[in-house]
């Protein structure tokens, strides 16, 4: 959540001047090479291991007599780091301590956790490629989830129909919610960053309110919806004990769809043209304002579907906080994936792994949940750093090197 601040603050405006050769901040982030991203992840993991060791009680104790018996200190530090990362591995990829089928359950948990991030991240990626800094995935996810929940708990329908209807409702409501920001930008020039942030707040309070009424809370006295019925749930892919549901498959299909949209379709070409240069796009006869609205609707529809998969597949009940930090993590995911569909899927899987691994890190290795969040935040910080560094022209060598690979990426 706090991570978004680092990305948002430097405005993309200064580079608008035509004589300025440097691409916009957003463009620079999207252009950072795979090497930078990979090293950012590695550096973040290394930096976090220092924190893991520092937060460990045994390490702290051993540090008080570091010079008397240094072996204790390094031993304890190694134990802490090793147990934390092995717990992460056991929780997110492969549990070598479990029996039978449960051994591969962690990787399915990673896929499960990445599902809403893929969908919301894809939506944001379309926006970023079109030059729209959409911060509103959080609200779109929540509104989509709420719409899906409402269909699921209010109506009765046969097996396949019910879940499809609920997902469609999420797509429509999510799209309309984001469409408000696109419409305001197109008609009045309202800044989409501010509008989407405000829409996030409105969504949270609107859903909180609806959860106190019979619309979403059913007959209960608590601000939590009744569980969605079996017909409206996304079916499991592998069956128990795996929780992985069809939402993940839908998310992968959506990634392929977004790839086709951006790289192969006329509409996607227009989106990208608007993102590359609004003035040129307008001169070329592209209706830029219409594109703003369409981009936001597409983004919101994907994010809304992400919310639906979270409720209909994973959580089964809706709360005001059901969106968790999906919408904000998705911003990181989209930027980390350089706003390409494949990159977004991979980045979402990385974040899903961190999320799936965190319960075992807490219970088995006593690593505070905050450390996991710190790992995520440091990745973002390091991804966001190269353009910052370059814009301050401190490290010319790096700037040149990344500039070259950046051109390749843009071509």
């Amino acid at each position: 959540m706090s991570s978004t601040g680092t990305v948002v603050t430097p405005p993309a405006e200064p580079s608008r001047a035509p004589e300025d050769e440097r691409p916009s901040y957003l463009q620079q982030v999207l252009d950072s090479s795979w090497m930078i991203i990979l090293s950012a992840i590695v550096i973040a993991l290394v930096a976090s291991s220092v924190l893991i060791a520092a937060a460990n009680a045994e390490v702290q104790e051993a540090a008080t007599y570091l010079f008397a018996r240094p072996g204790d200190f390094f031993g304890a530090a190694w134990d802490a780091i090793y147990s934390a990362y092995s717990a992460l591995f056991r929780g997110a990829i492969f549990d070598y301590q479990a029996d039978g089928l449960r051994r591969i359950r962690p990787i399915t948990e990673t896929m499960l956790a990445s599902t809403p991030l893929i969908l919301a991240g894809l939506g944001l990626a379309i926006g970023f490629r079109s030059g729209l800094f959409n911060i509103g995935a959080q609200g779109q996810v929540l509104m989509g989830g709420a719409a899906a929940t409402w269909i699921a708990i209010t109506f009765q329908a046969p097996v396949v129909v019910h879940v499809v209807l609920a997902c469609l409702a999420a797509v429509v409501v999510g799209g309309l919610w984001a469409g408000i920001a696109g419409f305001l930008k197109a008609r009045t020039g309202a800044n989409e960053v501010i509008v989407t942030i405000m829409l996030n707040s409105i969504a949270v309070f609107l859903v909180s309110y609806l959860l106190t009424t019979s619309v979403l809370a059913g007959g209960g006295s608590r601000p939590i919806s009744p569980p969605v019925g079996p017909n409206a749930q996304l079916p499991l892919v592998l069956g128990p004990p795996f929780r992985l549901h069809w939402g993940f498959i839908v998310a992968l299909l959506a990634a392929v769809g977004v790839w086709w949209l951006l790289e192969r379709s006329v509409l996607g070409f227009r989106f990208r043209a608007v993102g590359a240069n609004q003035e040129a796009a307008r001169t070329a006869g592209i209706r830029v304002n219409l594109m703003f609205v369409l981009v936001m609707i597409t983004a919101g529809a994907l994010a809304g579907l992400g919310g639906a998969t979270q409720i209909l597949g994973t959580d089964k009940t809706l709360q005001a906080s059901s969106a968790g930090s999906i919408g904000f993590d998705a911003i990181t995911v989209a930027l980390l994936g350089r706003s390409t569909p494949l990159g977004t899927v991979l980045a979402a899987l990385l974040f899903g792994a961190l999320r799936a691994g965190s319960p075992l890190m807490q219970t088995s290795a006593n690593t505070p949940i905050d450390i996991v969040l710190v790992i995520q935040a440091s990745i973002v910080l390091l991804i966001a750093a190269p353009p910052l560094v370059r814009s301050l022209s401190l490290v010319h060598g790096i700037a040149k090197w990344t500039g070259r690979s950046g051109k390749e990426a843009r071509a």
């Binding site: 007599y65 549990d95 059913g218 608590r222 939590i224 569980p227 959580d315 968790g324 799936a356």
Partner: protein, 373 residues
Amino acid sequence: MNRVTRAAALAAATALALAACAAAPDEESEESPEAGGESTGEMVDYTACMISDEGGWDDASFNESGFEGLQRAGDELGIETKDAESTDPGQYASNVDAMVQEGCDLIIGVGFALEDAIEAGAQANPDINFALIDSAFSDTEFNPVTYDNAKPLLFNTQEAAYLAGYMAAGVSETGTVATYGGQPFPSVTIFMDGFADGVARYNEDNGTNVQVLGWDKEAQNGSMIGNFSDTEAGRTTTEQFIASGADVILPVAGPVGAGTLNAASQAEGVKVIWVDSDGYLQPANEENKDLILTSVMKLIGNAVFDTIENAVNGEFDATPYVGTLENGGVDLAPLHDFEGQVDEELVAAVDDLKQQIISGELVVESPSATPTE
């Protein structure tokens, strides 16, 4: 500038080096506590685990109280404990699953939000015991259900809040008292229900007309700030109450109460009633503790400790624990600085009501209280 940095770095390095200079503990001394620790009990092969809701263990509210109970059980019973904090609802189920994988014997969920996760865990793992704080179990139709291996820990908080309301009405000089909550959860509004009823009882007994701002028990509607963290919102809400003439305030929003204390310290003659634990004894309230009239205590830690202790002794049973004035699960805190300032007749009347509630002569009701039968 540069010199300053260098000097600071040197000082920091020296401090670190000095801090690391302590003598290594002897191997023997490490073993001695175990050898001499027979009185405190040797390590028991039992693992008690606890999962927080979104608030986390440092929420200065029910997560923290519950966690203290778990830590006390770890220290005093010599059992192993594990804990996991949740940052959003999506993690409840996976945290329960991780606990099951880690071989926990008893898994405690804090807060009604974990009901589904604990319920699913109890159904899937009949040989593991579960407990849930602040909520009983119900099915999709909201009908109560029970499990042989899942114990709800509930609190008749309205009983203690009733006494607080009675006392507040008696202490108020302006004839107006106020309350507000964090969010309209049953575990919050139960305080406000009892408080409002206590004030009404005082009016009935004394022919007065003390008003309650911020809560309407009939409509189950009142002032909510929308979260359990925005101290500033607590401060402005309290200022509005004070401006409307209220001089006794009951904030039911965990750490947000600090904002109320702050606002009360700026006004003349305004008193605060704390919730969950004895606010007078909390280090964070040190500065303004003389404003705390009393506290509506909900002793979650004790309930957790007792549940774990029984389970360790093989006496776990799934019948709900209900904290009442009778068993000390809820209580009104001592008056501390207000001892002697509050009218003795009022104190006697409150004590009398407490006895009536304990004897069952007086029943304080709240729609938020979970029916246990």
